[in-house]
């Protein structure tokens, strides 16, 4: 299935722009938290299977991943993840805590600090998207997951064949050896309603009706 069938060019553009705004806000919050500049890539948007998404994650990280995940439900549903290589995990905790702690103390704080950081980033991102679309999204509490790409994306058995809309952004905390991804997985059943919301959003910002049948 081609993603262009699911979302037309202007809709893809609008969704990318929405995520861009959300992640920009989230980076501003994270930057304040760690008192460093956060560099962001331009979001990438792909319609792929969960397994392909997992391969994308594992390709760039060989030493295992840690992720903070929040589910969101509303007119559209899915999962948002902050994903880091295992090797960057304690550095992130150290950057967030901003105190000289022993490795043992850091390890103790690890889960809490990761969940809190993930929460700030993911809430910032989803919250501004929901505000712009004027649709409330219910967010679950953050959960910390460790493992490989499949475990982080919770692929068990046949679920890997499922097509999802996968959005991801690379981030780097400047001056620290910390990089990771912010990813969003949208379930296909909710794409139809997302498409409607995006069409309404496009119409509201352009003042014109660019329906989803628009060939551009």
């Amino acid at each position: 299935m081609d993603e262009n069938i699911v979302l037309n060019e202007l809709e893809r553009d609008a969704l990318t722009e929405l995520v861009n705004i959300g992640v920009g806000r989230a980076a501003t919050s994270l930057g304040k938290l760690v008192d460093k500049h956060i560099l962001l890539s331009v979001p990438a948007l792909e319609l792929i299977t969960l397994l392909a998404a997992s391969r994308l994650l594992v390709e760039s990280e060989s030493d295992g991943l840690v992720a903070v995940r929040q589910q969101f439900t509303g007119v559209f549903s899915g999962r948002a993840l902050l994903i880091l290589p295992q090797s960057a995990k304690l550095d992130l905790v150290r950057a967030v805590v901003r105190e000289n702690l022993s490795t043992a103390e850091l390890a103790e704080l690890e889960r809490d600090a990761l969940a809190e950081t993930g929460n700030i980033i993911l809430n910032g991102c989803l919250g501004s998207m929901a505000n712009i679309l004027q649709q409330p999204l219910a967010l679950s509490l953050p959960e910390v997951i460790q493992g490989d790409g499949n475990q982080v994306l919770e692929i068990d058995g046949v679920g890997g064949d499922r097509q999802v809309l996968f959005l991801y952004i690379n981030f780097v905390i400047q001056g620290q050896n910390i990089r990771g991804y912010i990813a969003m997985i949208l379930d296909l059943p909710s794409i139809a309603s997302l498409k409607q919301l995006i069409a309404a959003f496009i119409a509201s910002v352009t003042g014109e009706d660019f329906g989803s049948s628009d060939p551009n």
Partner: protein, 127 residues
């Protein structure tokens, strides 16, 4: 001679939003649009551009890098960087190239102060 505004954003939708907001505030101003820094610079070389509205998070060179390039060519032109990423480094980067940060999502209220200052500097009515 009408004022021409260069709008640079890799998102077509974002350019539509900027164009619409600009039109609401300054209906007589003309627009030129580009989706990346290279295109923006070639438009700048070819046409008379009076002010620029640049997205920060562009593919390739970002909005601040583009602003620096434009600044070399035009030390006085009003430039705004439009971004949701309002980290201190972005804001100080914008100040270094003598440009102003305008928040994304863009609104008329958000764009008005920059346009008023720009209009005054260009000898136009503030709209």
């Amino acid at each position: 001679m009408p004022i021409t505004v260069l709008i640079v954003d890799d998102s077509k939708l974002a350019r539509i939003v900027v164009a619409r907001t600009l039109k609401a505030l300054q209906p007589d101003w003309e627009r030129a649009e580009a989706s990346n820094a290279d295109q923006a610079l070639s438009i700048f070389e070819a046409e008379r551009i009076d002010l620029a509205l640049l997205d920060y998070n562009l593919h390739g060179r970002n909005g601040l890098e583009l602003a620096a390039e434009l600044r070399i060519r035009s030390p006085e032109m009003p430039i705004a960087i439009i971004t949701a990423d309002v980290q201190p480094d972005v804001i100080s980067g914008a100040q270094r190239v003598n440009s102003l940060v305008v928040n994304k999502p863009l609104t008329e209220d958000g764009l008005r102060p920059f346009l008023s200052v720009a209009a005054a500097r260009l000898g136009e009515s503030p709209g």
